[in-house]
Chain length 489, copies 2
């Protein structure tokens, strides 16, 4: 029997306290965004440093907001790697912009679940409207219907799920894949993101169900090898069903030749998915529209506003020219979710039932900066990356390792002192270099491996980054390189 406990104070934080703490936090954030450069980009914590400061048991009684906010400074902030820092050049550099942060704030307050049209018509209709805006900004044709998922991993998962659903002669919705007497095979380049393989793991296709296609000397998928692989697989009894082309790969931002891949997909009846999670937004810039060349023939495309469209994580946009296939793959409406309106219910198009109101922040970001403003910022990032590539090319102690079509530069140090040394020594030097750069704290860069060589990657994408930050980054890199050489004696 439930106890009645009429004495306990119930309800939410009072409006007055919300106002007070809210104003305090807005000021805190304004200061944080403004003075972020006093923090090291990469957190200096060691494993356990944060956890050690958190009590082992939850608080039995309520604590004051002042105390909680003080702990954000004391406990949390030292353990933050500052993704919103203008000198964050790791992975892909992203942005929680002002209007985007405020959009998240409103979404959290409304706290709607946009699973059905009726559960907030504005969530569904704003998503439809703003994704049509973005479609126009990217120059994609009208047949592309859009939906917002959380991450590109989930978008690509839905692409492969739809591809699986589109198979002729096998009802995977009803039967699954067990008992199928041919094995499915998906294709992507050696440079494709690991999310393609994660999707294959998820969908019951398995890692052997993904065949990696070789790339040319600029890290782009080779259509001739794709064609050959599909033919070979058909002969060997595989069931080819999907190709993922990447426009802006993770390591080098290379762009697969979609216009040449599309006819191969058409010939063999394969679903063509385009991973433009990073590269897609570049198409907002008129002179970079080529990044989506050939995509009008795609079955699906993923573009991440939380990567290079100044929108806080998470927000991944999935465009699909055959949304009815996606719907066949996932629609399931139990009685308690039936509704009578003739309108889009986004829950029918994916695995997740709960849907945050993510369109709101994207709408605010696009309006606040305007299409021209977004294009100008992306254009600037690309031009700074191009400048940096030039500096690297002009410096005999460094070597660029990939073309720079967008805002990410791949390179390594090849100082004279290492002339004639085995490649492991050069790799090791660059590993030490990246470690020294990141430990120093002014900038944060990441690495990859290209043709077996350890490679430093510097990505530009934060909205607060200026040309001066790139000048500084290059200085930091060269300074640490010199220091490291001196230490080696």
């Amino acid at each position: 029997m439930i106890r009645k406990d009429e004495s306990a104070p119930l309800g939410d934080m009072s409006a007055e306290e919300f106002r007070r703490s809210g104003h305090q936090l807005i000021d805190w954030i304004a200061d944080y965004l403004n003075e972020m450069e006093r923090y090291p980009v990469l957190s200096r914590c060691r494993p356990g440093d944060v956890r050690r400061q958190i009590p082992g048991a939850p608080p039995a009684q309520a604590e004051s907001m002042d105390r909680i906010l003080a702990d954000i400074d004391r406990v949390i902030l030292p353990g933050i790697t500052h993704w919103n820092h203008p000198s964050f050049h790791s992975y892909f550099s992203i942005t929680g912009s002002g209007p985007g942060i405020l959009g998240e704030l409103v979404s959290a307050a409304l706290n709607v679940n946009g699973m059905l049209w009726r559960t907030s018509p504005a969530a569904t209709e704003l998503e439809e409207a703003v994704l049509d805006w973005l479609r126009q900004m990217l120059g994609l044709p009208e047949q592309f219907w859009g939906i917002i998922y959380d991450t590109a991993s989930i978008s690509t998962f839905h692409a492969l799920a739809a591809a699986r659903q589109s198979l002729q002669g096998w009802d995977s919705r009803k039967l699954g894949l067990c008992g199928m007497n041919r094995r499915l095979r998906a294709y992507a380049s050696e440079q494709a993101h690991s999310s393609v393989e994660k999707a294959a793991l998820a969908l019951g296709i398995g890692l052997e169900g993904v065949r990696k296609i070789g790339v040319d000397n600029e890290f782009r998928m080779r259509p001739d090898l794709l064609h050959q692989a599909i033919e070979d697989d058909l002969r060997a009894g595989w069931w080819p069903f999907c190709v993922t082309a990447t426009v802006g790969t993770t390591s080098t931002t290379s762009v697969d030749p979609v216009a040449e891949i599309a006819p191969i997909c058409r010939k063999f009846g394969l679903w063509l998915h385009v991973d433009g999670a990073y590269g897609g937004p570049a198409a907002v810039v008129p002179e970079l529209k080529w990044v989506l060349d050939g995509c009008e023939a795609a079955d699906s495309i993923v573009v991440n506003p939380h990567k290079w469209l100044f929108t806080p994580i998470d927000c991944s946009v999935f465009y699909c020219s055959r949304p009815e296939v996606l719907r066949e793959a996932f629609s399931l409406v139990p009685e308690y979710l039936k509704s009578s309106e003739s309108a889009t219910n986004f829950m029918d198009y994916g695995i997740q039932l709960g849907r945050r109101f993510r369109a709101l922040k994207l709408w605010m970001v696009i309006r606040y900066f305007g299409v021209a403003g977004i294009a100008a910022r992306i254009r600037a990032h690309v031009s700074w990356a191009s400048e940096l590539a030039g500096w690297i090319d002009d410096d005999p102690e460094f070597e660029r390792l990939a073309p720079v079509p967008f805002s990410t530069v791949c390179f390594r140090a090849v100082p004279k002192g290492l002339d004639g040394q085995p490649s492991e020594v050069v790799d090791r030097f660059n590993e030490d270099l990246i470690e020294a750069i990141n430990r120093q704290g002014e900038i944060f860069v990441s690495h990859t491996r290209l043709r077996g060589r350890f490679t430093i990657r510097l990505a530009i994408g934060n909205i607060k980054t200026t040309r001066a930050h790139i000048v500084k980054a290059w200085e930091v890199i060269r300074r640490q390189c010199s220091r490291l050489l001196e230490e080696r004696g």
Copy 2:
């Protein structure tokens, strides 16, 4: 060639403007939360009403924040179904509480992706710490390791994925499911959430791979029928691999007897997943701890703080006593994500690479209300639901259709005027009644179907709900029922 456009203003919103707009929004939200009851709970929009007010093309030039914020009032708000309203009694009633909203605000500003430990040690370590708090609050034993996903759909998907990975004698990671000569089968009650079937769709198990088990007269899975089904399936050549027990089903909040289901899973070597997305949080209340009875034997459990723990959507907690299996199912580390620290990298435990810093809001909610405060609120919801059940039982014009173990009440009107009418007429009357109640706008309730009967569902769970709101809800329901009877003449 990229154009240089040095003239355009770049960068983010200024700190001053962020401060000004942020303060404005905090006041707007404080007012919204405080005065929400002047809005109809269910939006009165008709399809197209919102979209019609949004320009067909994106703005070429930047717009002012004032204009954007004005449009939130003008365009967005009328299209909102107010999930954060104290009289939202539909589906499951949820809460974006004050500390939770502020937590989301901080997360959006930090904008970290907690994919790796190093990409923000605080994101990983706070997640570990706060999930250990919640584990203690729920009374789960120490072997349960936790991770935060976005939704229960994704948590249950990971449960079934881990179950699939745990199969002996078949390497689904490498091979997928194509070519498997036995078909997998998962089990859940007729009352289980549709996310179990969505997971089966996703994972390549197919809808036929989910067998629904009958329930007793209180809508709880019958262990005897489960046992029989597994035996029958084994004889028929199926490969049983997973049982999902639900503690707090969506329609009636019935609680499957986990303590009786667990030995059956053990006997046949099946993964036991417990869906406590809604019901789990009740275990924070000492006298409701029984809801998780038997769960110590589970392989995985999902509990959603965004349902009944006052945390804004999205936040779904997944506990697993065999995290190494989850890791085997999903770990894939490309070169560009390799890191050297010996610490948890949550990206290894799921399909999503991008991970918002969701632990922050949960930490703030638990601290702000305290364990006792959270328990008091849940306890109050349960006691009001119990009162409402009593009023329904005492009213000859209404009939309760399920037990009320928690805060959700299932009932229908059976007015004297309909005595002796066929069941379709009673169903139709209740459909009209729910439509009238929701259109009226003071409260929002949803429906389900129980033993073929159209059923009204009233869920209590918002933190601002008081006993007075339940009194009002009951008045609204009776008033609309009388009005409808009068109209029928």
